[in-house]
Point group: C2
Chain length 348, copies 2
């Protein structure tokens, strides 16, 4: 099967989101079965704390020990894995679901990278998804033991606000011309969004030391971040560069600041990747510029950092959610080629 007919088969197989799953599977049977050597899930990080406000109703015990700050990791390693393991780190108001099946039912990067020979590790950030948030502050206020301004500043981002942040268009519900995000499937995309506890957490985010633990355990992983988590791989490298083969920051909310030590970032290849319409966004244009400044500083210090805009390498119409855009697997192919070219091969 040629690469392009494989991709057509994939798209055919995955197009029937609404149809019963059995029918979906029949249509998908033109895609060869995936051969998994090992899969599962585990946690990294985490610490035990005592709390007297675990609950605030008469029927539940308020005091005891809970574990917080752990990070859930789901992984798959294909039969005959050859490449570096990759770690996917989602962004604001989302979970590891980001990298799975797209809103319009196509294969996510999680499976695609496995099919391309990589072990794939998908995390939920601390206090998000399957990584527990601590309810003590809510109950402390509910029990009258703390003022209302001590409540955690948990927030949700609305569809309307996300529309602009994710660059589906200039404002809700207008789309940019040529947009690749599958807006017809937006209802399914909105279901991916969750409350964000990040502003209730210490800095750096507890996800960062957990990622460091994961990287050392994997003995060499490519950290692939998105948006809010963009700075996390850099902060992880600042803790300890061992175990990190490369950093790929997809549309990072921030790159390392001019005042940060540059040394850690000279020790591995770094790619900062942006989609389309960046110059139309007052949110993203300055962040792109800051990342360009960072890359220049890293390269001057002997590093190997690249900033790539997808339109400059032939891809047009990509949103902030480029791993879910209609051309997501073509973009993945480009990224896989970058990894193949720029990242030293693992020694086995």
């Amino acid at each position: 099967m040629t690469k392009s007919s494989y991709r057509v088969a994939l798209m055919l197989g995955c197009a029937l989101v609404i149809a019963p799953v059995r029918a979906q599977r029949d249509a998908a049977s033109t895609v060869p079965p995936l051969r998994i050597d090992k899969q599962g899930s585990f946690f990294v990080g985490g610490r035990e704390i005592h709390s007297d406000t675990l609950a605030s109703t008469a029927t539940r015990a308020p005091s005891g020990t809970i574990t917080v700050d752990q990070v859930y990791v789901h992984y798959q390693v294909p039969a005959g894995a050859q490449g570096h393991p990759v770690t996917f780190i989602h962004g604001c108001c989302l979970t590891g679901k980001t990298w799975e099946t797209t809103p319009d039912g196509r294969m996510g990067w999680d499976e695609y990278f496995v099919r391309k020979g990589h072990g794939v590790y998908v995390i939920d950030q601390a206090s998000r998804g399957r990584s527990a948030a601590n309810p003590s502050a809510i109950n402390r206020t509910r029990l009258g033991k703390a003022a209302v301004d001590q409540l955690p500043p948990v927030y949700a981002v609305s569809h309307e606000e996300a529309w602009t942040i994710f660059r589906f268009g200039p404002e809700y519900p207008k789309t940019f011309a040529g947009l690749q995000f599958p807006v017809d499937a937006q209802a399914e995309f909105w279901k991916q969004m969750v409350s964000d506890w990040v502003e209730a957490l210490p800095m750096p985010n507890p996800t960062v030391p957990a990622l460091s633990e994961l990287a050392r355990r994997l003995q060499g992983t490519i950290l692939i971040s998105h948006s809010q988590s963009g700075i996390y791989p850099f902060q992880t490298a600042a803790l300890n560069t061992s175990g990190i083969s490369a950093i790929v920051a997809i549309e990072p909310a921030a790159c390392p600041a001019a005042t940060d030590s540059i040394a850690p970032y000279t020790r591995m290849p770094i790619l900062v990747l942006f989609g389309d319409y960046v110059n139309l966004s007052t949110r993203w244009a300055p962040r792109l510029k800051a990342c360009r400044d960072f890359a220049q500083r890293a390269n001057t210090a002997g590093g190997k950092a690249e900033v790539v805009l997808l339109p400059d390498v032939g891809f047009h119409g990509n949103s902030h959610m480029l791993m879910q855009d209609r051309n997501s697997l073509e973009v993945a192919d480009w990224l896989l080629a970058w990894i193949d070219r720029e990242v030293e091969k693992p020694t086995r």
Copy 2:
């Protein structure tokens, strides 16, 4: 490879939780690769709401639309699937992680049932894990627009309290003689626990209509619940029995009440499964009795409901978390045989 040598190979392959994952994979290579026909994730349920308290800080927009009550579903369908698809529904203070890799690193029921030919669907209950919770009530109080008693009664269960509820022993940290739960790996287990929003949600839980949507989409699934979610498959069947091939309630917190219509429960095989030490638990002994009463009522009305205690079929030492106990795959084999014997084969 014989069944028992296969299981030994599994346990050998999975025992090295602390070791680097690459070494783990090498050791696991005696287990044949898993052949997946189709996998991915999607949501069922969900509704759009408007809120003016999505956020409570100066930098974030408080007003807009979000989607709530959706339920995350992760699935895998093996090559050559033959059995009914099974849907795994976790219990209190936990997520879909319940059914994945055990705390001591052995294969979870999610993969084991796939290896036995079933499509497997694992959900996160509404407002839990990758299924978003609504932060509006927290921010409403934080912004001074509602009283503190209007805060959602979110709770966490402590290690000490969970110890008794999950029947690891009579009280923390004592264990029951012969306990099969891997208490040496308890630190990893505690990381699975998350805050529970269930008391902040309407009744029946929004997970129930979402499960009904899933069952109809799967055209026949075995709903396998645990603990808190024990009543959900029954409530789902009360909505609509189509799409439900069988109900397996593992240590349900409740069975249908004597005042509920019995008719829906005469239309599919039902298994209520309990572990060991039930008569030593003031929490679980009355629940077991209530389920026995329910089964009798269902059978009198022409149904086929069974209540089984694992010690009565030769398994000893099982905790409330029996899908994670050391003998979890033997218990799974027993359950698979029950399904094979009692549930009408799918028509393909």
